[in-house]
Assembly symmetry: C2
Homo-oligomer: 188 residues x 2
DNA sequence: GACTAAACGGAGACAGTCCCCGCTTTCCTC
DNA sequence: GAGGAAAGCGGGGACTGTCTCCGTTTAGTC
């Protein structure tokens, strides 16, 4: 193992400020917020930003890993409180609402489901998949969820529901509605 | 009425070449294809492109209006061939597959469902909504579709299904699957 | 307090969008 | 077919954003 020496105090300070500013900027302006602007708002030069985070994706990940962890953890809370079917639906609802509110988070979760390009994304993907798997299996055991649905499919569908909701004017309202249509089906 | 004089021959030529090149570029590289590059490929200066199409959105619209018209028209063909329920599902399937193949088209349809900012988009939105409405009402009359589903909701959900499918590796395959889950519902 | 490696930061190369305006082409009239 | 007005062309340039390079500053150590 390589001996990791601790970050210099100023470096750690800047790192943390960048993270805080980035999380805010990405939430407000979406994943395409200007990086130079984030650097400026954090009171550092752009060089500093790019040294800590080699590209936009890296910053996006770093800014939201803990939030993704929280969402995954929330799955178990819900599983403990509610019957399996409701826990699953409620979790999906919170997931969708969360990604609508923090616009950058959606892009990150999207890439987490698709490609495992970076280590951080892989970790996020794993915890999300894990959370989904636990809820899905419980619901299937309870006989309230189709047996042929895979956990990752549910994550993709949640992403789709978010996209569908975003197309409406009053986005928040529609998540529940589209989730209901999905769970109950379109058939009469 | 103002007397509209026909376009000058060179103008019409350039306009048409731009449209053809743009449709190709947007399909391949998505809605963010470089406009200067499109101009170059069409053999005109960027000034010419921007005079014909004041911004990216305008070009995107112009490049795909007829394709959207074709999709809308396809709804009636399917309605004539198949029973109402199947016609609806089949149309949604073709819609999703089409938007996956031509990447720029998805962005356009997205904005068509949301905001009626430009005249062209409004026309597209109207024809899509019309097509959706006809299929939805037929299916509801036949009793195979939930009575409370609105045509525009179906367009949004189709967009969501496309997004969900895009997250998978082999995109084309998944459209049908996710459409099935949506129609039949997730419940056991 | 002096030294060194780590970290900083901003200038600048590059790419993309979009506008402006002097020059060219078209097409109408005679 | 010659001439002129108007329509159209197109590239240079202002601007914004990304990302790198490298001279300068600073934290941490002796």
């Amino acid at each position: 193992m390589t001996q990791v020496r601790p970050m210099r105090a100023d470096a750690r300070r800047n790192y943390e400020r960048l993270l805080a500013v980035a999380a805010e900027a990405f939430a407000e302006q979406g994943e395409n917020a200007s990086l130079d602007d984030i650097a400026k708002r954090a009171g550092v030069g752009s060089g500093t930003l790019y040294r800590h985070f080699p590209n936009r994706q890296a910053l996006l990940e770093a800014a939201y890993v803990d939030r993704i962890g929280a969402i995954a953890a929330r799955a178990d809370e819900l599983a403990a409180e509610l019957p399996p079917g409701e826990a699953l639906v409620e979790w999906l609802n919170e997931l969708c609402v969360g990604t609508i509110k923090a616009r950058g988070l959606k892009a990150l979760l999207g890439s987490a489901v698709t490609d495992g390009s970076s280590a951080a994304v892989t970790v996020c993907a794993a915890s999300m998949r894990g959370a989904s798997t636990r809820l899905v299996e419980a619901a299937q055991r309870a006989g309230v969820l189709r047996a042929d649905v895979e956990p990752v499919e549910l994550l993709r569908l949640a992403h789709g529901v978010t996209t569908a909701s975003e197309l409406a004017d009053d986005q928040g309202t529609h998540v529940r509605r589209y989730l209901t249509l999905l769970t109950e089906g379109l058939r009469a």
